[in-house]
Subunit: 220 residues, 2 copies
């Protein structure tokens, strides 16, 4: 197909496609004339994935290159998924530095690791999400909220079931480019949807339980 | 207590407390001398709530005033919860404008309302979360993802159970100021924790299912 067809079918403008070609993100098409090239369905799939990574995951071009490289060279979906959810296994150097720091690790991060052990989750010890979870646990503790890692266990069980739904969304998708695209959609684009669903469910529960509660010392 | 004690116990600096006093967010203490005032436990509770709303929910001072007003005047936890999760019931004027627009409403928002009906959730028709959910559904559709509002129903059922856990976190808390503070912590501060838990669970599922999958046409 011509670049104009590629642009129409991918929803990416011609100047942006040309930028990706110059930058090496998209391989050049087969030259058919001095200023014309032929693009394949493979180009279209790759371009759609680039678009998803840039627009949905909001990754910088350098990270998009890394993911495309992992797809081409490794062909390992777990690794691709890992890059998408920012769960890269640490290098040996980073791992050593982490172990040296572990003694002085923030309380919240230690608690986050306890929760992971309790759940039996197999994750890289340097996954970004552990830090995030640790920061929230520290903030909850600083606010005397009495919400700790144990209180989060029932939440962890429900999110575990959510992740099973996530993995089911990969069913029926074949080809690593398509699987990578689906992984981005499911793991990243569904995040605001899940938070929105939770707020709607909260509003519903709040309406049923708290509506018209004008008394200070409400019985619970 | 003196302003210095109030500052130490709340974790809010004296200049910031003075700013809240000038701005009317915090009522003045009982004057004990020309330049000294006595503050009560009630001042401390109110100040802690202000701190949570500003630091955790990142609300502008005007919105904090609105919530504090709702607590003082209405004493209605549902309304307070609604402000916290940005689920304010529309005014009659907004509601009219919404109904006039409804014909031309984006496809995603219509689908979001279908999901809400299917779930039997009682929510205000102008809740922000409906728009958010609609935008995600539109984006999923624009990307030919084959993920639609029906695919999100199992997610909605799990988030419904998460919201039941959320409501349980309000147990044992009495006093509207404390309940409002807890509502902010649970609904807002837990958001990054839930997303982090989902990413950890995804990484675990991905390790179990996809690790070492080097074949393009993986069977699912």
């Amino acid at each position: 197909m011509k670049i104009s067809t590629l642009s129409r079918r991918s929803g990416v403008s011609i100047p942006t496609i040309k930028y990706y070609l110059r930058d090496g993100l998209l391989p050049h098409g087969l030259a058919t004339a001095t200023n014309q090239a032929d693009y394949s369905e493979e180009h279209l799939r790759r371009l759609r994935l680039i678009r998803t990574l840039v627009e949905v995951r909001r990754l910088p071009v350098s990270a998009v290159k890394e993911i495309l490289g992992a797809i081409t060279e490794e062909g390992d979906l777990h690794q691709i998924f890992g890059i998408v959810i920012d769960a890269r296994p640490a290098t040996r150097h980073q791992e050593q530095a982490r172990q040296e720091q572990a003694q002085g690790e923030a309380r919240g991060v230690t608690d986050a690791r306890r929760l992971i052990t309790e759940m039996g989750w197999e994750v890289s010890p340097s996954t970004t999400a552990i830090q995030t979870l640790g920061e929230v646990l520290d903030a909850l503790s600083a606010m005397d909220s009495h919400i700790n890692w144990q209180s989060l266990l029932p939440y962890a069980q429900l999110t575990d079931r959510i992740s099973e739904l996530d993995v089911q969304q990969m069913n029926g998708v074949s080809g690593l480019l398509e699987l990578a695209e689906r992984a981005v959609l499911v793991s990243v684009l569904l995040e605001p949807a899940l938070l929105a669903l939770r707020r709607l469910a909260q509003e519903d529960k709040s309406a049923r339980l708290f509506s018209g509660s004008r008394d200070e010392g409400r019985e619970t």
